[in-house]
Assembly symmetry: C2
Homo-oligomer: 154 residues x 2
């Protein structure tokens, strides 16, 4: 569903969001915590910085921190930075003109995309952390928060 870059970026941002405000974390620190290969993570972090999601500080004691509060960063925003986030089907994929509606097949698929995208657009990093400070992200605990959608147990 997500590409690797987006998965890595989400891990990094979620991790940074758990740190005290404005505390710097170097690429190496984040790599240890998120289990992402350092060279690739550096590239991902650079992209997030250019996008205005992170703030970078060079030199000794430098590193990365969130450029805004976790409640202002949506999951979709991060996915878009890496061309992840499944694309809506706007027009007939067969290239047939004059159709104002999608056919049933592509409508079905687009509905699934729309559902996922709506959730990603309205979920912030803050939401993922949860209001309860006991909950720890990145698989570092047993906590499981409900995010409004029922978990399908198949």
């Amino acid at each position: 569903m997500l590409n690797q870059s987006a998965e890595y970026a989400l891990r990094a941002v979620v991790h940074l969001a758990t740190l005290p405000a404005d505390q710097q974390a170097s690429a190496g620190d984040i790599s240890d915590r998120t289990k992402v290969p350092i060279p690739y993570l550096q590239k991902v972090l650079r992209t997030l910085t250019r996008r205005g999601v992170l703030h970078a500080k060079r030199g000794m004691g430098g590193g990365f921190c969130l450029a805004k509060s976790s409640g202002e960063i949506t999951v979709l925003e991060i996915l878009n930075a890496f061309d992840s986030s499944p694309q809506r089907i706007e027009t007939c994929p067969l290239g047939i003109k004059g159709h104002t509606h999608l056919c049933p097949l592509h409508t079905l698929i687009d509905e699934q995309v729309a559902n996922a995208q709506r959730v990603f657009a309205t979920t912030t990093i803050h939401d993922i952390l949860g209001s309860d400070s006991e909950i720890r992200p990145l698989c570092d605990g047993l906590a499981r928060v409900s995010l409004g959608l029922p978990k399908d147990n198949r």
Copy 2:
């Protein structure tokens, strides 16, 4: 959301489902109707045949037809034939052991996958065609059927 092979396969199967039962359609015929490049479509059709979704007939007047009724073919079945269908997140992607639950981040993502997969598993090709015979698939009409989920108009 879907890879090209799965998209092409769905188009082909939906098209075949609109034909009179057991009528053969050659790869060329299907290619014309679904706007899929012939060589690639041939490969897709071969896969569907091996999977038991289609029946192939060689020689003059030959071609492909559904191997079972459209109500017995699910969308998920076709996606699985091409490793499309977004994968559920079963275990912690960070490789941390001893965790019986996903963290909030991966839970959120997995919920979206689960929702889509549930719909694909319960929707058959027959459902896509719609009970109303007026409705034409593959963007060949203006019809739009509701498939149980609200359309998101953004």
